[in-house]
Amino acid sequence: MATAFKTVEPLEYYRRFLKENCRPDGRELGEFRATTVNIGSITTADGSALVKLGNTTVICGVKAEVAAPAVDSANKGYIVPNVELPSLCSTRFRSGPPGEEAQAASQFIADVIENSQIIAKEDLCIANGKLAWVLYCDIICLDYDGNILDASVFALLAALKNVQLPSVTINEETGLSEVNLKQKNPLVIRKHPVATSFAIFDDTLLIVDPTAEEEDLATGTVTVVTDEEDRLCSVHKPGGSPLTGAKLQDCITRAITRHKEVKKLIDKVTKSIKPN
Amino acid sequence: MAAVCLSEAEKLYIVHGVQEDLRVDGRGCEDYRCAEVETDVVSNTSGSARVKLGHTDILVGVKAEMGTPKLEKPDEGYLEFFVDCSANATPEFEGRGGEELGTEIANTLYRVFSSEGSVDLKSLCINPREHCWVLYVDVLLLECGGNLFDAISIAVKAALFNTRIPKVRVLEDEEGSKEIELSDDPYDCIRLNVDDVPCIVTLSKIGYRHVVDATLQEEACSLASLLIAVTSKGALTCMKKIGKGSLDPESIFEMMETGKRVGKALHIALQKILDEEESLGTTRQKVGFLG
């Protein structure tokens, strides 16, 4: 009859577990779900990565195109991230144009790229004022089981590390650009931002990497993004129950340790692909 | 299509009739209803036609306008289809009701006319990459009497046959900018060659046999129908199954054969009417909508 109790009184059911400092799926409060990453699975994209965080599955595909740079930033290319939450990944999203949660996630990813300076936009410039790269980063959630922000940032980082751009040159006389598809060179990744999300339970308890159910029952969420120099790229707390400065500090320290784990995982995976 | 609800007994009656190759209105399985085709019924279009097939009434207008060729086909003009189901066909088409059916018909027309052979698109091109003729084909559904696709395809073919595109000359002046010069004689225009334009034949499966040109009642008893676009030479350019049911493979082969045979006969009859109207020239007494 346990399932009956769970659907009738979900909050009470969770409190019973949180009292013993564990969760229904057996994890501690500070423990992440199993994280796997698979790079380069989509051949039609210039760079792609699929990240699984427990059941949450996110795929990021990067398509590179060329365009005239903006007038005010003549030597800068563009990075255009978009998060898509289709009705396929969970019944809570309806099909059609992106809803509020998808747009908020897109804005969060754009802020993380801007704040952490993963790629210097100047590196994307081919010919000053004439031609520059546009990296369309499309992040699609295939299976929504909570904590979509961590998975998206990880997938974006892995996909950008996997991008191979063809060399494009503009020969002066004709003014036309020539593309050499054979000779490809990777992007220069300057920083490695990693996101860590927490859910706030009953205004006090902080649990890391919440599942979809835990997110529904939580009274607030906090996402902290750090880079390798332990600088804060983003502290994103969209309302919800208030937190003291000390609790925020606990989140940041946990985020820093999480950064090391993820950096180790991504280095291992990129090394395994490098030889071919 | 606008559905009419029939009781089980009526459906049984129609199905048994079709088994014996005898339909409710006395036709055989492969006979068309009497069709009236009339061209040049709307004045301010480049070409227009109206087809009345039994109770189905379609009006098609073709407008030729100057446009820029598409990126991937710089040396060809192109066709744009728009199907409007007017609300006086059935109350169900009120507001957005008819939109879903309209887009479905438009998609089918795009598929039928997508193969290069149907209309000579290269003749529509004025100068590559910059100017070409774009034919906006507007289909208006005035009344639904079943078998919409056949009636529409006949009307489109007649309208294209009737289309007159003014002759245009391109003048190159010194600094290379092109200038379009229109001929002053209003009758000096080029006509489209519609021989390869296909006509759609819809074969509706009723019981174990299939019929052509199904009325609304027959469509209600048919679970699946096959839609075939046949050119005057008998080649198939499009094939599509519509309806909730499924077809067994053998019956598809038979349907294709029947479709080809019926399609060629249809083309011959249509071409005869069009040539007749063409020969009468301007003295033809137009019946229009009052007939």
Binding site: M1, T3, A4, F5, T7, V8, E9, T91 | -
Partner: protein, 195 residues
């Protein structure tokens, strides 16, 4: 039983219609019984000894509330004429997605139907046991009734948010603030909720 569990796929021919009757999860076509579900095959004694072939899916079978089933639902809104509920369970199997149901005023109690007050029977948030009396027509959703003693409110929370204890068939009391509230209480109190 777990020896040779034969699994089958929709469309698969199980046996000829003469051999066995078509049980749940199967259909007959051209004299053969074919599987309609992807699940494990069960040959069992059907009604009246005729052998029956059925295909069973895993535990939480795909249920639709049908007439006569006892359902567990949560009250979401009430007014003077009916109460709107979300159906969570059919029997003991949870539904994956909530279906909407309605309990009309005259279906709440079997006795003195017209003196029933919806406000004195249900409140939003209560968990109620009810029986499906009709699938409802095109517009309305499922029609439910709580006109038996075993049906009615099972779990109710008081203003203070504490779970209330039933003290009679029509009243419940909050253990903390001792305030009494009117509810149409289900007599058999299934003990699946430890208070």
């Amino acid at each position: 039983m777990a020896a040779a569990r034969r699994y089958c796929v929709p469309g698969e021919r199980l046996c000829s219609a003469a051999e066995a009757a078509a049980g749940s999860g199967t259909y007959t076509r051209r004299g053969a019984v074919c599987a309609a579900l992807a699940g494990c095959l069960r040959r069992g004694g059907g009604a009246g000894g005729v052998p029956q072939v059925a295909v069973l899916r895993d535990a939480e079978a795909q249920l639709l509330p049908d007439v006569g089933a006892v359902v567990t639902c949560r009250v979401c809104s009430i007014n003077s004429r009916f109460a709107k509920v979300h159906i969570l369970y059919v029997g003991s199997t949870p539904l994956r997605s909530a279906f909407r149901g309605t309990i009309r005023r005259e279906d709440i109690r079997a006795t003195e139907k017209d003196k029933v007050e919806v406000y004195k029977s249900f409140r939003p948030g209560d968990i109620v046991l009810a029986k499906v009396i009709s699938l409802g027509d095109a517009q309305s959703n499922y029609l439910l009734s709580t006109a038996e003693n075993e049906l009615g409110v099972v779990v109710a929370r008081s203003e203070a948010g504490v779970q209330m204890v039933p003290i009679s068939w029509c009243e419940m009391q909050c253990p903390q603030t001792h305030t009494k509230d009117f509810r149409k209480v289900a007599r058999v109190q299934p003990q699946f909720l430890q208070t």
